[in-house]
């Protein structure tokens, strides 16, 4: 696979950057009532599904009511986290100047404190997308998701860890900023992370109190049904979010980068890396909404702060630009993309062909910087 900087000249990269900047400015200049109405409509749906779901669970002596309640509450949490929370916190609706949709103040219905998310996701992941050693979203510090991550014996558990991460995704995201792998390596201590821990504890406790204590207690005799209903909704949201998010950067063909490659990167180079490092999902309108429009991961990574429902509209143009510059546009249906992610999780559990000895942890730091995948 050729390295991106070898396929495009500096002039081509600048031209690419200019074209994408122009597209972005065109969308920004057009923002207005339609976008405000869109996000408020999604919010009305989310709040309605939440109230409806919780009400159904309260009357869930009838099994169909329980199932319907779980479905509605799952959808509510998915909308809250993905199409609303993730996107609002990117600053996609800051231009509306509505304090309830302000990226700096928004808080979402999941265990992860919004402030930590803004740091680890908006800044770390979106700036350093797919740069090994800088983008902590590659494997989330737990999984081996790249050939260029040296294999260790414990990577044999890759599929197991991935399954656990899927089920507990909101908690995995919540502790993301703790940087467990750096604590493990002795680079930082838990004491350094005291404030982060405290914030996770406070947010997590509120979430647990709400879903697993307050609502069940209010339901009186139906407490166990409400408890299991809330638990199921959280699990469904966790697995769904895991699937969509893992399809964003890990399907076959998505490229990774070394720190050297991104030194002195231009704006055009940054755009190119975002496109090479992301993958889309195909599907219908409802699917796109339920994915938080992360089904348009390429458009999202190129323009993280324009309202996500616009990605679908500009995808044709982005794809056309990709084609003109010979940049691959990685897309496919969920089953294909997720299938390839699952395959990768299993494949990378084992050492690379020819790598005879597992690398001991102590050797990793002394290793030479990794070259881009051959």
């Amino acid at each position: 696979m050729p390295t991106p900087n070898r396929t495009l000249t500096a002039e081509q990269l600048d031209a690419l950057g200019r074209e994408l900047d122009e597209l972005r400015n065109r969308v920004l200049a057009d923002l207005g009532e339609r976008d405000a109405e869109y996000i408020r409509r999604i919010i009305r749906w989310q709040r309605g599904l939440e109230i409806g779901g919780r009400s159904l669970l309260f009357g869930s002596i009838l099994p169909p009511a329980w199932v319907a309640g779980v479905a509605a509450l799952s959808l509510s949490k998915i909308l809250d986290n993905m199409e609303i929370g993730h996107n609002v916190m990117h600053g996609q609706y800051d231009w509306m100047k509505d304090p309830a949709l302000d990226s700096k103040r928004f808080e979402w219905d999941t265990a992860c404190p919004a402030d930590q998310w803004r740091h680890s996701h908006n800044y770390m992941h979106h700036t350093h997308t797919n740069v090994l050693g800088k983008d902590r979203d590659i494997g989330y510090g737990i999984l081996r998701m790249s050939e260029d991550q040296p294999w260790r014996r414990r990577d044999l558990g890759n599929p197991l860890y991935a399954s656990l991460l899927a089920l507990l995704f909101e908690w995995g995201v919540a502790v993301h900023d703790l940087e467990v792998e750096r604590i493990e390596a002795g680079e930082v201590t838990l004491t350094d992370k005291r404030d982060i821990l405290r914030a996770i504890w406070q947010k997590g406790r509120r979430q647990v109190l709400k879903d697993y204590v307050a609502f069940p207690l209010l339901a009186g005799p139906f407490a166990p049904l409400v408890f299991t209903g809330n638990l199921s909704a959280n699990l469904i949201r966790n697995v769904w979010a895991f699937m969509i998010i893992f399809c964003g950067h890990f399907p076959e063909g998505v490229e990774e980068f070394s720190e050297q490659e991104v030194e002195n990167e231009t704006r055009g180079g940054w755009y190119l890396r975002q496109m090479l490092g992301s993958a889309n999902l195909t599907g219908g309108g409802l699917f796109h909404i339920l994915s938080g429009n992360l089904s348009h991961q390429i458009e999202h990574h190129v323009f993280p702060d324009i309202p996500a429902h616009r990605y679908r509209e500009i995808a044709i143009e982005v794809r056309e630009i990709c084609e003109r510059y010979g940049v691959p546009y990685n897309t496919g249906p969920l089953r294909k993309q997720f299938g390839s992610v699952v395959k990768k999780i299993f494949r990378l559990a084992l050492p690379r062909d020819g790598q005879e000895q597992p690398v001991r942890d102590s050797e990793i730091e002394e290793q030479q910087p990794i070259a881009l995948a051959a």
Partner: protein
């Protein structure tokens, strides 16, 4: 004596329950208002909002709105101003208006008179589109342009143009409270067609013999503010207190007339002069929280803040992560990615991709 409005609706038991800790846990993390507003936009417990109940256009360049504030509204003192938010094409635009009604108005409603400016996005929108049922967002009443708790024995209320609203509020509040000391009310406008509230003030004067009023049109031959005119209405200026609202020139004129300028309370609607010079600006960059001011130099606002020894939060330094987003209190800045210039007060801007386009004051 407190000059605040009674709260329009009492906090009933349901409302107290909705505001409880338990409900806060249940509706976390969004909070109760994000659910109540879906039932009715002004049902919010914490966000002050008002529903427009009446609209009239007194002059060709003004619109007068009556609004019913919700229970989150905490009232105002006559003369204070309120930040009012109105949504226009998806964007909440906020402007400052002084209520013109009595602060002791029995129905608790608010009256705002908005003068239309040719370039005014909000004033033109309200003039063209305000209608009963429209929801406006209200801030907390602020401002020191208020009468002392014990009203002065002899009072002169002077206004120019749209500056009539806070002094009219003072007059109406005093009337409602049965104040019986001599009050002179003088309103200056360019032409008689621009006079605001003339009939209302005349009606008040008929009911309150202690009130004398004068409406003057400066472009139609009426004299500008002078001591003789005031003395004719209320006696010698010594010992009288003036409350003036209008353009700076009017305030200066009144201050120069008064034997003791300390007896002149004043407020101007004109914002402090800021120069907008476009990119490569020169001027002053003020950092309000760290109480620093520097001359505008090279680079983005983030770089200039760092050069001044500040360490604002930042992330990508390329305009994508919004970590460095901060509040611009005043001034003009240009976004170097989009070329867009932000000139409004209290706008959020991204430090890492903005350059000054004139004097700037930032909340960092």
């Amino acid at each position: 004596m407190s000059l605040t409005t009674p709260r329009p609706r009492a906090m009933g038991i349901p409302r107290r329950l909705l505001g409880s800790q338990l409900v806060d846990t249940l509706v976390g993390p969004h909070g109760i208002d994000r659910y109540l507003e879906l039932i009715r936009p002004d049902l919010t417990l914490h966000d002050a909002r008002g529903e427009v109940t009446a609209v009239r256009r007194q002059t060709a360049r003004s619109v007068t709105l009556t609004l019913r504030p919700n229970s989150a509204w905490r009232g105002f003192r006559a003369g204070q101003f309120v930040r009012v938010g109105v949504e226009i094409d998806g964007v909440r635009r906020t402007r400052t208006y002084s209520p013109a009604c009595s602060a002791a108005r029995s129905d608790g409603q608010l009256e705002l008179t908005v003068t239309v400016h040719q370039e005014g996005v909000v004033s033109r929108h309200l003039y063209a589109h305000a209608r009963p049922g429209m929801i406006l967002h209200l801030g907390t009443a602020q401002g020191e342009f208020v009468l002392p708790a014990q009203p002065p024995e002899r009072l002169v209320l002077i206004s120019g143009g749209s500056g009539i609203t806070p002094v009219l509020s003072m007059l109406r509040t005093l009337c409602d409270q049965g104040h019986d000391g001599p009050v002179a009310f003088m309103h200056y406008a360019r032409t008689a067609a621009d006079w605001l509230y003339r009939e209302e003030v005349q009606a008040l004067a008929r009911r309150h013999p202690n009130l004398r009023s004068a409406y003057l049109a400066t472009r139609e031959g009426d004299a500008r503010v002078c001591a003789d005119a005031i003395t004719a209405m209320i006696g010698p200026l010594e010992g009288a207190v003036a409350a003036v609202c209008g353009p700076p020139r009017l305030i200066d004129a009144v201050r120069s007339l008064w034997p003791d300028p300390g007896e002149v309370l004043a407020e101007t609607f004109t914002p402090p002069a800021l120069t907008v010079t476009g990119a490569a600006a020169n001027g002053t960059l003020r950092f309000l929280r760290s109480e620093q001011a520097v001359a505008i130099g090279e680079g983005t606002l983030l770089e200039q803040a760092e050069a001044a020894g500040l360490s604002p939060e930042f992330g990508c330094r390329m305009g994508i992560c919004h970590t460095c987003t901060c509040r611009k209190a005043a001034g003009a800045v240009q976004n170097i990615l989009t070329g867009e210039v932000s000139e409004e007060e209290d706008e959020d801007i991204q430090l890492c991709v903005s350059v000054p386009a004139g004097d700037v004051a930032l909340e960092i």
